[in-house]
């Protein structure tokens, strides 16, 4: 082949080669491993549950990864946004609607509206708290990684305590709207209805985010900003406003994630913020900082592996996720779809 084509192939990382093929086959093959210990029906149930769990993780991780990629901030307080979404959307709104009988024994329309209202409330709460945290706290420690981690941890801590003030320290039951209760039986595979809803919403969210990122001007600016903040500024865009916007959007997504999560679990308790943020962190690391597609894939990885291992060796489920995170950090620190940072 001629010089230019050769040069293009050198620079083009998407070309074909053996090593990549093997990596792909292995990475797909590993997901069928549990079939050794588990019968196919159970496997399908676990897989659906894992994908649903992954979608819920994606909702939080997507915001976190963009915030991290764009603003270079590790925001542990994201967990607080998640928890607030859960308590306001999943718990408070659904309980409110239940007073009119909309939730537990409602009609299809009422069920759908219940969920929609819950999600919107969760999103609003997350967005609002997100703006407040960004303005009041994050701006003050901009640029200092160490301080950021400490301060956002402190915010998560305070928010957890505040949650206990308003809603008590004990776990509370969360209602599931009628239409989403129970499950379908497809060839002996029991598939929870709400899990389907979670998957659908997650995929829609992913699609929506991709559309915004790839097709709109603001998405273009954000994608560019993740690569090089300074160049975006000198191109004439007020990066601070963009930060606030991204933070707000991330907060809304986290709020939605929280709402969906607590309905999924049918319960809510103050520590879900901390628990979730740890999963979200693992997803973000595996997927790559700054990449939404990466966090989608990472979320699937974490969700599936957690569910498979939780079935076989319950105590080690989180440990396996940590192990994957460690492996990624060692052999491919920029994550599945992150950018190799030259530093």
């Amino acid at each position: 082949m001629d010089a230019e084509a050769a040069a293009t192939q050198l620079q083009d990382p998407d070309g074909f080669n053996m090593k990549r093929l093997v990596t792909w086959v292995c990475s797909i093959g590993i997901w069928f491993l549990p079939l050794i210990w588990v019968d196919p029906t159970t496997y399908m149930v676990l897989t659906v549950a894992g994908v649903a769990f992954g979608m819920l993780l994606f909702m939080v991780a997507s915001g976190m990864t963009v915030i991290f990629g764009l603003m270079d901030i590790l925001n542990l307080a994201h967990g607080a946004l998640f928890a607030l979404g859960a308590y306001t959307g999943g718990y408070w709104v659904l309980n409110l609607l239940e007073k009119w009988g909309w939730v537990e024994y409602g009609t299809v329309m009422q069920s759908i509206w219940s969920l929609v209202l819950a999600i919107l409330t969760g999103a609003a709460a997350g967005a609002l708290l997100g703006i407040i945290i960004e303005r009041v706290i994050i701006r003050g420690v901009y640029g200092d990684h160490l301080k950021q981690i400490m301060i956002t941890m402190g915010v998560l801590y305070v928010m957890t305590e505040v949650t206990k003030i308003f809603w008590g320290a004990n776990p509370e039951v969360v209602l599931v709207p009628m239409t989403f209760q129970g499950s379908y039986d497809i060839f002996d595979v029991i598939v929870g209805k709400f899990r389907i809803a979670a998957i659908v919403i997650g995929v829609l969210m992913f699609a929506g985010i991709q559309v915004v990122l790839l097709k709109t001007k603001i998405g273009l600016i954000v994608r560019a900003g993740v690569e090089n903040r300074e160049a975006v500024q000198t191109s004439g865009y007020n990066i601070n406003r963009i930060f606030t916007g991204v933070f707000t959007a991330g907060g809304a997504l986290a709020g939605i994630g929280g709402t969906m999560w607590c309905v999924f679990q049918q319960q809510v308790y103050p520590d879900i913020g901390l628990e979730n943020i740890i999963f979200a962190m693992i997803v973000v690391v595996i997927g790559g900082l700054g990449s939404v597609t990466g966090s989608f894939l990472g979320a699937l990885v974490v969700g599936l592996s957690f569910n498979y291992v939780a079935f076989l060796l319950p105590k080690l489920a989180l440990g396996v996720n940590i192990l994957i995170m460690v492996v990624v950090l060692i052999i491919r620190p920029w994550g599945l779809m992150g950018e190799k940072q030259g530093d």
Binding site: K147, I149, M153, G154, I165, F166, G168, I278, K315, V326
Partner: protein, 368 residues
């Protein structure tokens, strides 16, 4: 005179000669004497607070070693603390009538496990960027917390472990009368904690003042230069992390001994890290003595703030929310933490040292 001493050696000689007559030494002696007298105070709360201040000083000062002196932000300190606490608790619980060798066994077991985990952690701190390491340590600490809850066969789960200690530490011990004072098991444990805390704290100070400690400071201030000067920076960081984490375990052992009860949330809970961070920040990062102040502040607040808040709440019109706010006084400490980081990052001792050095420097400048 023999060969001339270089300026550093000269200064150290001067320091050594005057070390018993400096004001800070007198303060330290006074402090220890005060602590010795505490059990004679009838209030149990005071003794409880003092014991906790002492043992948590070891934990927080060792965290200062890792964060302030080595510059590593890790959330795993709570995990090491919990490992020490649970070792003692489980071994004493499972043995029926605990003997002295059980204590040694517990100490040994927890130290072995801690050193191993600390080595793993230290290895990772080198291989990954600071921010990833922080995430990793957070995940790991939470994993241990979860294990504490779910591995109920071993740890008795969420309910926690109540246990007794051997010999004169055993709650059932009759005590002894000496000089007209009744020395109970509690008091013996208290004095044991006093002795061990003072020893461990002095070890920390020694470590930091030693050549290893000085290299650590130089690494913290400018890692590239230290490497260029030929120091294998990793070895020093490793040493510091292993030492600091082991001390946290020992602190956990003392904690378990004092309370006689451990459960996953109090011993392995991740949010304890916020408490440690608060204490270390208030005292001042990179100043071991600052930990004493930070811990004292925190523990006294913990002991007396709830009552204060309830008192204030009683003055206000009765309301569920106000009652709950009074209950959740920890939130205020968390807020203080946030404010401290933003406004007051050097802490008490740090700011004092800064002011002193500015004044010293200014004193040397000729006024024209």
């Amino acid at each position: 005179m023999g060969h001339d001493l270089n300026p550093v050696q000269q200064q150290r000689l001067v320091e050594q000669k005057t070390r018993f007559s400096r004001p800070s030494f007198l303060v330290q002696v006074a402090l220890v004497l005060l602590l010795l007298m505490v059990p004679f105070n009838p209030s149990f709360r005071v003794m409880d607070a003092a014991a906790k201040i002492m043992l948590f000083t070891v934990v927080v000062a060792s965290y200062d070693l890792i964060l302030g002196y080595t510059g590593l932000l890790s959330f795993a300190h709570a995990m090491f603390f919990g490992i020490g606490a649970y070792s003692v608790a489980l071994i004493c619980y499972h043995s029926g009538t605990p003997q002295w060798y059980h204590l040694f066994l517990a100490t040994g077991a927890s130290l072995i496990l801690s050193v191993f985990l600390a080595l793993v952690l230290a290895f990772f701190s080198l291989r990954t960027k600071a921010i990833f390491f922080a995430m990793l340590s957070l995940a790991l600490a939470d994993f241990f917390h979860l294990l504490g809850i779910t591995w109920s066969d071993l740890t008795l789960g969420e309910d926690g472990v109540t246990f007794n200690l051997p010999g004169i530490f055993n709650m059932n011990w009759a005590g002894v009368r000496f000089l007209d004072i009744h020395f109970s098991a509690r008091m013996m444990i208290y004095y044991f904690i006093l002795l061990v805390s003072v020893i461990l704290f002095l070890c920390l100070v020694r470590f930091v003042r030693s050549p290893v400690g000085r290299v650590l400071k130089s690494i913290r201030d400018n890692e590239q230069r230290s490497t260029a000067l030929g120091y294998k920076t990793f070895r020093y960081q490793l040493l510091s992390i292993v030492f600091g984490s082991s001390l946290a375990s020992l602190g956990g052992i003392l904690y378990a001994m004092w309370l006689g009860f451990v459960d996953p949330d109090s011993a392995l809970g991740v949010f304890s890290m916020v408490d440690y961070l608060l204490m270390v920040i208030i005292g001042g990062l990179g100043t071991l003595y600052g930990s004493i102040i930070g811990v004292a502040f925190f523990i006294t607040t913990q002991a007396w703030l709830p009552d204060l808040l309830k008192g204030i709440a009683a003055l206000l019109p009765p309301s569920e929310i106000i009652a709950r706010i009074a209950e959740r006084w920890m939130a205020f400490l968390g807020l203080l933490f946030i404010v401290a980081i933003m406004v007051f990052p050097k802490g008490v001792v740090g700011t004092i040292r800064e002011r002193l050095s500015i004044r010293k420097g200014a004193g040397r400048v000729k006024r024209t």
